[in-house]
C-alpha cells in the first residue's frame, strides 16, 4: 500500500499525523514535522520489573480431611495410619494415629490409599513442544544463535497443550518447570507453572517462583552450530562461547548506565542469584568443568539435567551442592548417554548428593512415580536401601528446592500450598494411579467424577474428548 492510500484509509483519525515514508526515505509533509515539534517532550512510562506477571489464582476448595491413610510428606517422612488436613488452599496439619484429627465435615476415606504432595516435574516441554507435535508448535529452541539468554519460555508456552491434563490425571503433577530446548548453550529463561489450565500462560505461572535459566553442554550445541559451519563446533568451542558471554555480562553488570539488553539482563539476574541455572549436561567430566566455569564467572549451577553420568562424580556434586535431575533408565540414544545406568539415582543418594527424577517427556511426566520406583529398586539390588519416603522426595520436595519454590510447595508442611495427590495404592507401584489431585486445595482431578478432568480447547469436538486417557 502506498503512502497516499494509507493516508486515505486512516483519514479523520489522529493517526493521520503519523509520518509517512516516501520513496526516498524522507518523511513527507511539513505538517507532520511541525506537529511533532510542537508536542510536549514524550516521556515513556517505566517498564515494569515483572512485565508478564502471574495472574494465577487458586480455585475454590473445600476444607478436607483425608483419614486414615499412608502419608508420604515429601520431605522424607512417612506416617502410617495418618491423616492430612487442608483448608483455604493451605496444608493445615498432618498427623498420625496418636494425634487427634480435626472435626471437618468433608472427610475422605484414605484406607489402603496413599497421600503425597503434588508431583513436581523440574524438566518439561509441555506447552513449548506441545501435542500435536507439529512443526507449527515447535517453539522450544530459538536455534538461531548459540546463546539466546534473551528469550523467555513463557512466550512460547501454549496453555492448551493436552499434555497438561495427562500430567495431572495420570501423573499427579501439580507444578512443573517448562524449559527451552538444548540446541543452544544458553537457551533462555525457564518458567514454572501450576498445572492448572488457563486461557493465558500468565494464568498458569506459579506466583513467586523464580525464573530458571537453561544452559546446555555437550553434543547438542556443537552439533547444531558446528553443522552450520559456525562456532561452537567442539566442546572447547562450547566453553569459549559461554565464557565470553559471561564476561560480557559481567561488564554489563558493572556499567552504570547501559543500554537495556534483554540477554544481559537475564545473565545479570543469574549472576545475582535471582535466576536458577538448569544445565543440560550428560557427561561427568563436562559437569566438573561447568562447575569450575560457574566459579570462574561468579554464578551457581542449581541442577544438572539429564545428568546420566552424575554417579561418577557424586562427591563433587555433593561438595558443590548441585542437584542431578535425571531419568531412571534412558540411555544409549546418543554418545553422551552411552554410560547411563539404572543405579544413577541410588549412587547419588548414597553419596549424599541431591537427586531429582525428571521427565523431559510428555509421556514420562505421567509416570514420574514409576520412574522413581525403578531407580530405587535398582539401588536396592546393589545393596543401597533408600526409603520409599525419600524416593517420593525425589519427585516432590527435591524438585521444589531446585526450582526455588520449596517454601511454597513440595511437601505437606503446614502453611504450604495444598498441592495434594491421593493415590489408589502405593505410589511406587506400577499398579497405582492418582485418584484425586488438589492444587491449592482445589479438587482439579477426580477419577471418580468423569467431569472433574480437564479437556483442553484442542480436544473439544474431537474423537476421544473427555475420555479417560
Amino acid at each position: 500500500m502506498n503512502c497516499a492510500a494509507r493516508l486515505m484509509l486512516i483519514a479523520g483519525s489522529a493517526l493521520a499525523l503519523a509520518a509517512c515514508t516516501t520513496t526516498d526515505g524522507s518523511e513527507s509533509g511539513p505538517e507532520v514535522q511541525s506537529a511533532a515539534s510542537q508536542a510536549p517532550a514524550f516521556s515513556l512510562p517505566p517498564t515494569p520489573a515483572d512485565p508478564y506477571p502471574s495472574t494465577y489464582k487458586p480455585y475454590p476448595g473445600v476444607e478436607t480431611l483425608i483419614i486414615p491413610t499412608t502419608v508420604f510428606d515429601g520431605a522424607g517422612g512417612r506416617i502410617d495410619n495418618g491423616w492430612v488436613h487442608f483448608r483455604d488452599g493451605k496444608i493445615v496439619a498432618v498427623g498420625g494415629p496418636t494425634t487427634m484429627p480435626p472435626d471437618v465435615p468433608n472427610v475422605i476415606d484414605g484406607v489402603d490409599k496413599f497421600v503425597t504432595p503434588g508431583i513436581i516435574d523440574i524438566h518439561s516441554h509441555l506447552g513449548d513442544y506441545p501435542s500435536p507435535q507439529v512443526a507449527a508448535h515447535s517453539d522450544g529452541n530459538e536455534a538461531t544463535s548459540p546463546t539466546t539468554p534473551d528469550v523467555w519460555t513463557e512466550h512460547s508456552v501454549w496453555p492448551q497443550d493436552p499434555g497438561f491434563s495427562r500430567a495431572l490425571a495420570n501423573g499427579g503433577v501439580t507444578s512443573l518447570q517448562i524449559l527451552p530446548g538444548s540446541a543452544n548453550l544458553m537457551g533462555g529463561r525457564a518458567v514454572t507453572l501450576k498445572n492448572v489450565y488457563s486461557r493465558t500462560v500468565q494464568g498458569m505461572k506459579f506466583p513467586g517462583a523464580p525464573y530458571g535459566f537453561k544452559m546446555a553442554c555437550g553434543e547438542n550445541p556443537k552439533r547444531v552450530y558446528g553443522g552450520r559451519g559456525r562456532k561452537p563446533s567442539t566442546r572447547m568451542g562450547n566453553f569459549a562461547v559461554n565464557r565470553q558471554t559471561w564476561l560480557d555480562a559481567r561488564a554489563y553488570a558493572e556499567d552504570d548506565n547501559p543500554k537495556r539488553d534483554l540477554a544481559k539482563e537475564t545473565l545479570v539476574g543469574v549472576l545475582k542469584g535471582e535466576l536458577l541455572v538448569h544445565n543440560h549436561c550428560y557427561r561427568a567430566d563436562e559437569m566438573a568443568l561447568v562447575m569450575d566455569m560457574a566459579k570462574e564467572m561468579g554464578y551457581r549451577v542449581t541442577a544438572f539435567h539429564h545428568a546420566v553420568e552424575s554417579y561418577k562424580i557424586g562427591d563433587l556434586l555433593r561438595e558443590n551442592d548441585v542437584c542431578s535431575a535425571i531419568w531412571a533408565d534412558w540411555y544409549g540414544f546418543k554418545m553422551e548417554a552411552y554410560d547411563g545406568i539404572l543405579e544413577n539415582a541410588a549412587l547419588l543418594q548414597n553419596a549424599g548428593a541431591c537427586v531429582v527424577i525428571h521427565s523431559d517427556s510428555p509421556n514420562d511426566i505421567q509416570r514420574l512415580n514409576q520412574e522413581a520406583a525403578k531407580a530405587q529398586a535398582a539401588g536396592k539390588r546393589m545393596g543401597i536401601e533408600i526409603s520409599d519416603a525419600q524416593v517420593i522426595a525425589w519427585i516432590t520436595l527435591n524438585a521444589a528446592r531446585a526450582m526455588g519454590i520449596a517454601e511454597m510447595t513440595g511437601s505437606l508442611e503446614p502453611g504450604k500450598m495444598a498441592d495434594v495427590v491421593l493415590w489408589n495404592g502405593d505410589p511406587l507401584s506400577v499398579y497405582s494411579r492418582p485418584e484425586k489431585v488438589w492444587v491449592d486445595g482445589a479438587l482439579l482431578f477426580d477419577a471418580l467424577d468423569p467431569k472433574r478432568r480437564p479437556v483442553s480447547d484442542f480436544e473439544l469436538g474431537q474423537p476421544g474428548e473427555g475420555d479417560v486417557k
Binding site: W330, L347, K380, V430, S432, V468
Partner: protein
C-alpha cells in the same frame, strides 16, 4: 533363598561347562505361563533338551536332573518384544553405528535385517538382562513406505541371533508413509498397490510385470528387488506389519484384504483402534498397539488412550503390546503392568494380570508367527524362561536368571560393569581405569 540359588548355580556351572542346553527343574516358584492365565503358586517348570517339557503344580521333577529351588521367585516365559530395532544400532545419534534406516538407499522392501543383527550389541545384552529373550527386530521405512523384512531374533549369547529370517515385511500407511510417498496418504496407497500388483505379476498370478522401478526425483520408491521381495507378502507367506494410527487409516488397511485376499496383516500402532475395534475383530487382524499412548501426538492419534488395548481386547481383537512406543524395550513389563493398574480406574479398560503378561509374551509371539514356541511355558516351547525376584510386571522387580533355549545366559553388560566400577568413588590407590 538367594544363597540357595547361588549355590545351585555354582553347581550348575560346574556341570555344564559348555553353553549346551541344560536340563533343569525349577520348583516352588510362582509360575505364570504367559498364555493369559493367572499365575500358579508353588509350581514347577522343567526344561529338557532346550525345550519346556512340563509346567504345573502337579509336576514332579525327575531326581536325575538338577533342581533349582524357586521359593520366593516368579517364573515366566522369556518376554517377547515387538517391534524393535535391537541389534541394529549401538548409539542412536551415531549414524555409523545405526542401521535402523537407510534413506539414501535405492532399496526398501528388499532390505533384510537378518544378516546385520549384531548379537553382541549392548542393547541385546541389556535387554536380555531385562528378561526379554526373543524380539521382532527390523529396519524401518525411510526412503519409501516399505521398511524391509524383519526377523525374529533371540537374545542369547551364542552368536546366532536369528530365529526366523524374513518373518515379516513392514509398511507405513499412516502419516509417516504419506510423507515418504511424496506427501499424501493417497500417494502411499497407490504406491502400495502398485508394488503389490507388481509382486503379483512377478509371481505370474495376474498381469505382466510392468515396471522395473518407481522413482520420484532421484529417489527410488520401488525397485525391481523390492517388488521381488513383496512376492511372499502378496502370496500370504510373509506377514505384513502395517503401521497406522488413525481409525480411518485402519479401515483402509482392513479393506486391502478385498483387493489382496491373501495378505497376512498385522496392525502396528493403532492408537485409534478402539474406535473400530469390532471391525478389526471381525477382520481377524491382530494388533500390536502402543500400551501407554494417551496424547494426540499427531492428527492421526487424536483419540489415543491407554484404554485402547483393553477396549480392543474386550471387543475380541488379538492384541499385544508394541514396545516401539516405549522409551526403550526394557520397559515392556512396566507397560504391561500399567494396563493392570488401569483396570482399576473408573471408565478405563485395562487387562487382567494374566492377559497383561500374555500381551508381552505369547500374544506378540503368536502374532509374529511363533505360536506355541516362544513367549509361553508349555510342553514343546523354547526353553526361554526368566526367574524374577518379584512380580515381573512390577517396576521394582528384575530378572535374577534368564534361560534361552535351555541355556542360562550371562547377564553382565556395559551398564552392570559401570555400576560395579562406580560402586564407590575411591581412587586412593589407582585411577578408576584400573578398577575392572
Amino acid at each position: 533363598m538367594k544363597r540357595a540359588l547361588t549355590l545351585v548355580a555354582s553347581i550348575l556351572t560346574l556341570l555344564s561347562g559348555t553353553a549346551n542346553a541344560q536340563d533343569i527343574a525349577i520348583t516352588n516358584a510362582t509360575v505364570a505361563t504367559g498364555d493369559g492365565s493367572a499365575p500358579i503358586d508353588n509350581a514347577t517348570v522343567i526344561i529338557r533338551g532346550g525345550k519346556v517339557v512340563a509346567v504345573g503344580q502337579e509336576v514332579r521333577p525327575d531326581p536325575a536332573i538338577p533342581t533349582l529351588d524357586g521359593t520366593g521367585t516368579w517364573v515366566t516365559p522369556g518376554l517377547f518384544a515387538t517391534v524393535t530395532t535391537l541389534g541394529i544400532w549401538d548409539v542412536g545419534a551415531v549414524s555409523q553405528s545405526n542401521d535402523t534406516s537407510a534413506s539414501g538407499s535405492p532399496f526398501s522392501a528388499a532390505l533384510d535385517v537378518a544378516p546385520i543383527v549384531n548379537p553382541n550389541s549392548q542393547h541385546i545384552i541389556i535387554h536380555r538382562a531385562a528378561g526379554i529373550t526373543r524380539a521382532a527386530t527390523t529396519t524401518g521405512p525411510s526412503g519409501s513406505i516399505f521398511g524391509g523384512q524383519g526377523a525374529i531374533i533371540d537374545l542369547d549369547a551364542d552368536g546366532q541371533p536369528i530365529t526366523k529370517a524374513r518373518a515379516f515385511q513392514v509398511v507405513d500407511l499412516g502419516e509417516g508413509g504419506a510423507r515418504r510417498a511424496g506427501g499424501s496418504r493417497a500417494s502411499a496407497h497407490i504406491l502400495f498397490r502398485a508394488a503389490l500388483r507388481e509382486a503379483q505379476a512377478l509371481i505370474g498370478k495376474r498381469g505382466t510385470p510392468q515396471t522395473t522401478e518407481i522413482v520420484k526425483d532421484d529417489e527410488v520408491m520401488l525397485s525391481r528387488f523390492d517388488a521381488e521381495a513383496l512376492k511372499p507378502v502378496v502370496a500370504g507367506n510373509q506377514k505384513l506389519f502395517v503401521a497406522v494410527e488413525r481409525a480411518a487409516d485402519i479401515r483402509s488397511v482392513l479393506a486391502l484384504k478385498t483387493e489382496f485376499p491373501r495378505l497376512d496383516l498385522v496392525l502396528v500402532g493403532a492408537s485409534e483402534g478402539w474406535l473400530v475395534a469390532s471391525e478389526i475383530a471381525q477382520a481377524g487382524v491382530p494388533v500390536l498397539a502402543d500400551a501407554l499412548d494417551a496424547l494426540p501426538t499427531g492428527f492421526d492419534e487424536l483419540a489415543a488412550t491407554q484404554s485402547n488395548i483393553g477396549r480392543m481386547k474386550a471387543a475380541g481383537v488379538i492384541v499385544g503390546i508394541n514396545v516401539s512406543g516405549a522409551e526403550n524395550p526394557r520397559r515392556l513389563a512396566q507397560h504391561a503392568g500399567n494396563l493392570v493398574g488401569l483396570a482399576r480406574m473408573p471408565g478405563a479398560t485395562g487387562l487382567s494380570w494374566g492377559e497383561a503378561l500374555a500381551s508381552i509374551s505369547s500374544i506378540p509371539a503368536t502374532i509374529s508367527g511363533m505360536a506355541g514356541k516362544a513367549g509361553v511355558l508349555k510342553r514343546g516351547a523354547f526353553g526361554d524362561l526368566v526367574i524374577w525376584d518379584g512380580d515381573p510386571l512390577e517396576v521394582s522387580s528384575a530378572p535374577v536368571r534368564v534361560y534361552i533355549d535351555g541355556v542360562e545366559q550371562p547377564l553382565d553388560n556395559h551398564q552392570s560393569r559401570l555400576r560395579e566400577r562406580y560402586r564407590d568413588l575411591d581412587e586412593s590407590d589407582l585411577p578408576k581405569a584400573y578398577d575392572w
